[in-house]
Symmetry: C2
Subunit: 259 residues, 2 copies
């Protein structure tokens, strides 16, 4: 089982979209795939038509139970989507209160890692969608994953944010035994704007060794797919974004294949 | 002195862009204006060329001093921008740790409100740029402001998020004596996409009484302005976005004028 975390402290860069699109592709390619929503704003859960205010169980219950050393069956919070082999652990607003408690509860940073041990033989891939904020939830996702995917919008403000994000990751990573591999994915690329062209060139200069060689184009089909509540590959398998994400997935799988 | 908070738990909807553009316009129209960055990711501070990792003082110091009942001179953390009459209190990453402490420290939700008392005769308008997360920082901004501006991207996922945002605001607002006026501002509007047209129609149906009658168009000049580190009105006063934001500002000022 491979665990991939999709994170960036900058908001609106395509974290949820990347999680849904890669999740849909992995399931379509025949892999048993679980997406985990740990964003209290619950965009991923809403995407698949689940109303976070109505859900009885979510990732919040798993975090709390594990941190308070109570028994929990992670399988009980897993929901289906209309794509075969693609499952979801939804989020609720309760997650927003975990930071306040993290001062109080020992070992809260490893709750997700411990929870995933129960699922090792059930899924081939687990994708974790993170909130746009540095806190206990992001720390959990970084501690639990095998590799990190950082979507970065191809525009100026997002670049400044990336430096800081990497700075933070290095700080947080001291708790891990092995360094965490990460891949930077340029998103919202539009070759007609100077901002996209210059930003991509700068990413190539400054982050060559961790930068994916392609880019995700601006594609309104991604918004249409989210309105329809379908993964982009189900909605329109020939859209430019799905083709680009397929290339990304092929590269990511190649990088993480056990040799 | 009027305090306006710009907030939305959804990331990437145009909070920082709205703060910078309205701030630049207010200063150009002759008002003494202060922008306060309380996002640990510090996009607003980076926009004006300040590197959050190099700053000695920031909004974090003000929060901490006031909560620990130490004396602090808020004026000492104020920075200038190249626009006359437009000042900034920057953010640093230390803000990310405040949630963990909020369980411990009494009355942390009113730190910003108390800090702004020192500035009452110095500024006509204060604009607070919030992080995309529900926590102690957002609570401070909601408690300190006279009105709330909620940028909402004109696309499907953002609408779902708005319902939850309003739900949360109602919960948090119980601490206030008077109800908080709020204005929903449609952003990233592109009449060529179905997503924009349908979302705007839905906003008009569901949120008529709090929805601004106009919308902010997609405009790459906003990105170019952020690369140049200039407010949009300085960068290109005739851009479509600046004209739209000017209309918004005229409406907001009219709504909040004391009678
Ligand atoms: N390549 C793209 N082209 C066009 N629209 C896109 C693209 N990627 C994402 N979007 C749209 O942009 C919006 C923001 O994307 P998304 O919600 O995935 O970002 P996020 O990083 O998860 O945001 P948050 O920080 O709130 O979690 C969504 O409406 C999505 O449909
Ligand atoms: N109307 C617009 N047209 C085109 N680009 C825009 C528009 N508004 C904002 N942008 C760009 O979109 C990106 C996201 O905007 P911004 O950073 O202001 O959002 P935010 O809500 O503050 O994000 P965060 O949740 O990370 O704080 C920025 O690069 C900005 O330049
Ligand atoms: Mg998201
Ligand atoms: Mg912002």
């Amino acid at each position: 089982m491979e665990v991939w975390t999709i994170a960036n402290q900058k908001g609106g860069v395509g974290k949820t979209t990347t999680t849904v699109t890669l999740g849909g592709l992995l399931a379509a390619w025949g892999f048993r795939t679980l997406m985990i929503d740990i964003d209290p704003h619950a965009s991923l859960s809403s995407y698949f038509g689940y109303d976070p205010d109505q859900l009885e169980r979510s990732s919040f219950d798993v975090f709390l139970a594990i941190t308070e050393r109570r028994h929990v069956i992670v399988h009980d919070v897993i929901l289906e989507t209309q794509s075969e082999r693609l499952h979801l652990i939804p989020a609720t607003i309760g997650l927003a209160g975990l930071d306040r408690q993290s001062g109080r509860l020992e070992g809260m940073g490893l709750a997700l890692k411990k929870a995933l041990r129960q699922l090792i033989s059930d899924y081939d891939y687990v994708l974790v969608d993170c909130p746009p904020v540095l806190g206990i939830l992001l720390i959990n996702a970084l501690a639990a994953c095998d590799c990190l995917i950082i979507p970065v919008q191809t525009e100026f403000l997002a670049l400044k944010g990336l430096e800081r994000m990497l700075h933070i990751i290095n700080m947080v990573m001291r708790v891990r035994t092995a360094p965490l591999p990460y891949t930077i994915v340029p998103t919202f690329y539009d070759p007609r704007t100077r901002s996209s062209l210059e930003t991509l060139a700068q990413l190539q200069r400054d982050h060559q060794s961790h930068l994916w060689s392609g880019h995700i184009p601006v594609d309104t089909k991604l918004r249409d797919a989210s309105r329809a509540g379908m993964t982009p590959i189900l909605y329109d398998p020939n859209s430019r974004a799905v083709l680009a994400y397929s290339e990304l997935l092929a590269t990511l799988r190649h990088q993480t294949l056990p040799y």
